[in-house]
């Protein structure tokens, strides 16, 4: 048996001084970490010369914790926890069981806050995979705006991230703007971006309200009458322009109209967005906090130089006010344009698409936004004369009925006329801006510029059409000299529209063999024009050439036995057909304007 020597105790003074040294070392380490972090952030900011000063405050929240901190907090179980949440959430989704699913997705977001790929997937997952599990359009819509809400939350935590912004933009433009159910979604976005008016009245007047509101385009599915049996009152949330019109016919001391004050209860964890939060004030201007620049534009920067100021709706400020709400494509344009600036000025690179796509998107969004305004204008115009526009279908089908509205038409709804005029004016401006955006993009990517030639030509023609329609409506409402001036301007624009659409057809939508047969000869060279050179011909030749093309098409694509035109052989029939509808619209309008002009010019 051996006796082991007891360890010699350290002197207490030495133990205490060692403890103090360790404590000092720890504090110094912490300070060094803080200094290093600041240095890294400053270095990163300095590497992005266009960014400007950092935002004054940073949000602090659980989500801002880096993933290693979460890992420490969860005792190293962050990874397994996230993995199990991924597996179970995807299994649940496949089974169509949506209970707890949002919670799991939220936890994944909290556990993996730094991974863009996670957020991009979840935004897609919510907007596409979860929304498709719903049947009711309103529930589908709420799943999609939940995806946008998710994206915007991440955007707050990780601002100025090209991937997140492009994903939000994609949801606005593709899912809300271009899906099978877009007719429903687009109208809701328009409505919900506005500050709505709460119209309250006694329950006994509900039928009277319905009769008056229906004439203005009110739909009960969209803005239900909420009855309060306790107070015997009913309330409806209407868009401001509709409420203003309604006020003229539906009034009385028992009717009150007030701008809605949303009592957001988002502090409740179960709160879920069922409608988009308003982004416009009661006059249609963007709410000031959405235009608050986080990176103020340097005073020395030239006015034509682009600048990313970090505000949420920076790109829409130039188009305000929006008295009829915002288009979903406008919101898509705003985010895509921010992405393009982040790419150009901050050197950010998209993860799941290429630079060319990001660069080209703003132009396409502007074009889609303009077309959305165009369609909306057509619907307003029909309502202006007391007609009820069809609730769905192809917008091209609205051309013929609106074209037939005479210049001497009696206006049944002044608010609708105002709406139409506003929409056409904005659309014309957007087509012009889209053209400029396309040209910018084509300059950046010259090898692929040919893809956008037809877009630019379309935008020129459509801008003219929108200006013509706007002036036509002005003429309808005006009298005297103002009416004459508006009519003259409309005639000029309709004539130009016809020529431009004829040129579009001649440049893109005519078979080569037909071109060779009917295109006139270039007096300079003595050779026939081709689709590449036809633009240089005298514009007065466009329409006669188009007529010749149509006649020759009938011969060229005819069945040799029966002589019947065979549409299936005519590969450009659909594209040409759409342009011809617009040409016909102009023809009808010009015919409407001729007799109307005469009495005004001959007193």
């Amino acid at each position: 048996m051996t006796a082991t020597a007891a360890p010699r105790p350290r002197p207490p003074a030495l133990r205490q001084s060692a403890r103090g040294a360790v404590a000092i070392l720890l504090i110094l380490s912490l300070l060094a970490t803080a200094v290093a972090r600041h240095w890294v952030i400053a270095h990163r900011l300095a590497s992005q010369p266009h960014r400007g000063p950092a935002p004054p405050t940073e949000r602090t929240s659980l989500n801002n914790m880096p993933s290693y901190a979460t890992a420490l907090l969860l005792g190293g179980l962050r990874g397994p926890l996230a993995m199990s949440l991924w597996i179970s959430s995807q299994t649940q989704l496949q089974q169509g069981n949506l209970q707890d699913l949002d919670t799991k997705i939220e936890w994944i977001r909290l556990l993996q806050p730094e991974f863009d790929a996670v957020h991009l997937f979840q935004i897609w997952n919510k907007a596409y995979n979860i929304s498709v599990k719903m049947t009711s359009l309103s529930n589908k819509y709420s799943a999609i705006i939940d995806a946008i809400d998710y994206g915007q939350k991440v955007d707050l935590e990780r601002p100025d991230d090209i991937n997140i912004l492009s994903s939000i933009a994609l949801t606005y433009s593709d899912k809300l703007g271009n899906s099978q159910e877009s007719a429903y979604y687009r109208r809701r976005v328009r409505r919900e971006t506005q500050t709505l008016v709460r119209v309250a009245f006694p329950i006994s007047r509900v039928d009277e309200f319905k009769a008056a509101a229906f004439k203005l385009g009110w739909l009960e599915d969209e803005a239900a009458v909420i009855r309060n049996q306790r107070t015997h009152t009913a309330a409806v949330l209407l868009e401001r322009w509709m409420a203003d019109s309604l006020a003229q016919t539906f009034q009385g001391p028992d009717v009150s109209m007030q701008f809605e004050q949303r009592a957001e209860t988002s502090s409740n964890p179960s709160w879920r967005l069922l409608r988009l939060p308003a982004v416009l004030d009661d006059r249609g201007y963007i709410l000031s906090d959405l235009l608050e620049a986080r990176y103020p534009r340097p005073a020395a920067l030239a006015a034509d130089q682009p600048w990313y100021d970090g505000s949420q709706l920076q790109m829409l400020a130039q188009y305000q006010p929006f008295p009829y709400g915002l288009s979903t494509f406008a919101l898509g344009y705003n985010d895509y344009k921010r992405c393009q600036l982040l790419q150009d000025l901050w050197n950010e690179h998209p993860m799941q698409s290429n630079e060319q796509v990001i660069d080209g998107r703003p132009a396409i969004m502007l074009e889609l936004w303009a077309k959305d305004e165009w369609e909306r204008g057509r619907r307003f115009e029909l309502r202006m004369v007391g007609a009820i526009p069809p609730p769905g279908g192809d917008p091209v089908e609205l051309e013929a009925p609106t074209a037939a509205i005479p210049a001497s038409a009696t206006i049944a709804d002044q608010a609708a006329r105002g709406g139409a005029e506003y929409s056409y004016g904005l659309a014309a401006r957007l087509f012009a801006d889209a053209r400029a955006e396309f040209r910018r993009h084509m300059n950046n990517y010259r090898s692929r510029a040919y893809i956008y030639f037809s877009h630019v030509d379309d935008a020129i023609a459509m801008e003219q059409l929108m200006l013509a329609d706007r002036d036509y409506l002005r003429a309808v409402a005006a009298s005297g000299a103002a009416r004459q001036a508006a009519m003259q301007s409309a005639i000029t624009h309709y004539t130009q529209t016809q020529q431009h659409f004829a040129l579009v057809i001649l440049r893109y939508w005519v078979d080569e063999l037909v071109q060779a047969k009917v295109y006139p000869k270039d007096p300079a060279t003595g050779k026939p024009y081709t689709q590449e050179t036809i633009e240089s011909a005298d514009p007065s030749l466009y329409l006669p050439t188009l007529d010749a093309v149509l006649r020759e098409n009938n011969r060229y694509f005819a069945d040799p036995d029966t002589g019947q035109y065979l549409p299936d052989r005519d590969q450009y029939r659909e594209e040409r057909g759409e342009c011809l509808v617009y040409v016909a619209h102009c023809k009808i309008r010009l015919a409407n304007l001729q007799p109307a002009t005469r009495p005004a010019t001959t007193p």
């Binding site: 169509g96 949002d102 936890w107 049947t135 309103s138 969209e222 309330a235 009592a263 964890p269 069922l274």
Partner: protein, 738 residues
Amino acid sequence: MADHAIFNLLADPSWLGDHWGWLVAAAIVVLGLLGAGLRDLGRFSPKRIWALSGVCFDESIRKRVLWIAPLAMLGVIVVTELQKALDEQDALRQSLKFCLFATGTVAVMVSIILAATNLPRDIETRVIYTIVTKPTTRLELILGKIVGFARVSLALLLIMGLFTWGYLRVRERRERGQIAHRLRDGDVGETEQARLTHYLDTGLLTARTLRSPDQFQVYGRMPDLAGQKRVISDQGNQDVLAEFSGDRAALFGEAPPEAPADQWAHQGIGQFGLVIRVELNTRRTGPANDQPQEAPTFGPTPPKPKGPKPLLPPSLLIDVFGSTGYQLVGSQQMIGAADLPTLRQEIADFVKTSRMPSSTAMQVRLSRPQPLSDGGQGQVAYAWVPPSAATRLFNEPFFYVRFTGASDHVDYEVGPQPVRVFVPQIQQNRIEFESPGAREVPLAAGRDGQPLPLTFRGRMGLRGGQEIKGTDSGPSGIGVFSFRHSPTPAAVNGQIPMEVNVYVDRAGAEVLEGHEAATTLDVAVYDRQSGSVTTQSVQVESRQIAFFTVPAAAITGPDYDVAISCPTPGRDIGLFPADSLQVVLGRQSFEFNLLKSLCILWMMSILVVSLAVFCSTFLSWPIALVLTVVLLLGRWGVNQLADVTGPGLGRQIVNEFRFNDAPVAEVVSTSVDALSRSMNLFSRVLPDMSRFEAIGDIEQGVSIPGEKLAQSLGVLVGFGLPAAVAAYLVMKRKEVAP
């Protein structure tokens, strides 16, 4: 008489096989207490047990185990603040789940740790001297410990239960306020409005007693429930299953039971095949689009007959399914005909050429209307299953003959017995299909000896439901849920609440600007007693419960049927037999339901304490802790591996690890299989913790049935009591004090 019953029970080996676990548990308890502990049993004193349990309880309180409760509450609050929910009800459901999960986890963990560590520590620190030197028995010691820790877990459960109740009530008030806010702001669509209004009216913390239907059928048209005729419509929208007995003697003829299969297979249907006869009536509901094309003719075209061309009768599709639901004989493997002479000719051709004719049962055209043996008129179709295919019925205890429509725009009217099956005979070189030469196969009989009724099914959807189509031009598929001998539902304000939960697919429905296009179901309640029909419409969302009510007068007796159809075009509605429609029989208070849930959790923690105390009698506390966890989770773990540990695992491992040496491969394969078998066997001895199901029902707002409490009690008694007795037996022989 009673002796006889017991004798019969014991003589029945299957009874013993089913209840061997109970017998073993009873043997441990009885033999342990009567054999080894009779004296201690005689000295048994509940007062001393209570005193001992008090020591455990006080010690636990001194250790501040109850402080874990506030921590758990904090955890619950944090987690619920991080949740996201579909709607307010879902939010509360999730919160309830977190609360009860935390409650159960805390109770079980504290119970395991306290119970597994207490006895070894008492022995180690010699505290046990103070107990065993007193006039207490080891039985009282063990029971005292178990009761003591059960009191601790009860205290924890009560604290957590009170917190759960209070927290959920506060949350409920907030969620209801939010619902009111949403409804006031008009944020919700019309589908959701009804659901949220229901939550506002009934509250979010409910405990409904639900009644599921006893039977579910899908028809093509609204049936006359008093009559015998049923309709399936169009091509494949519904089908009919008739169940037949798979009795070998009936199908293959008499043969000695021990005869090899070959001997059976060459007689009966193995020799002559099987003939299926379907009789029904049809009615065109639209233009005929299944008329055969005229064959191209050569030479001069004959003049077309004047007047409309007579329509050919509609077609059917016939096939045979086995008892497991898999298709045994496909329709393309049978020869079909509209009459017996044609069938005979087709069979003769088949025998000569061994090639299936073009007229298989894939699309058997029905005969024209003809008189039937029962005096009525009907159309018939025959299908002959060749012997090679018919022998597949050899091992089937029963089989189904299925038929479905093969023509569009046709209603097929089906009588009570539309299908008959015969084993044909050859007599004087002529094959006889029906009586007298042929032998008819009987329909399968139910427990009451009566033939089983037909099964009418809807088209099977990809998600497992039976689908009906939504049309605005009359119903195209109706699901009928039948309730028999049901307790009368309790009416609330003169209304009987019901719930419907279906899945909905939008199939290319047009979307109009500003229109939500909600999916509507038409519900009709047929009261068998009064003969009244009550209709109601309800708007539904896919896989979400929709609530509706019918007047109390709609159901006056125990038997009633509820029919569901969809008038919204462009929708496919998926119905599930058990849970797509349920009737709310009554409501309990949420508090009582919570109490039941806590009761189940308490029983679970008592079992945990018993097992932990048992393990700690012969193991050191860390090992006892681990063993207790293994005992508790063993069965669950093996169940999770059920798919992997089935037969053939050994062969699979040999293949995957590429054992090329045959003897080694054999050893590995058999060893793995033996291990897998023993693991499965071992798991069956362990307690089934899934019986302590305390959360599922209450989180869905359903009243926990008494059977669940009984099940939990059964597991507690079956495992907890023997564990306590075993712990006593070990302790009795253990030297713990000088």
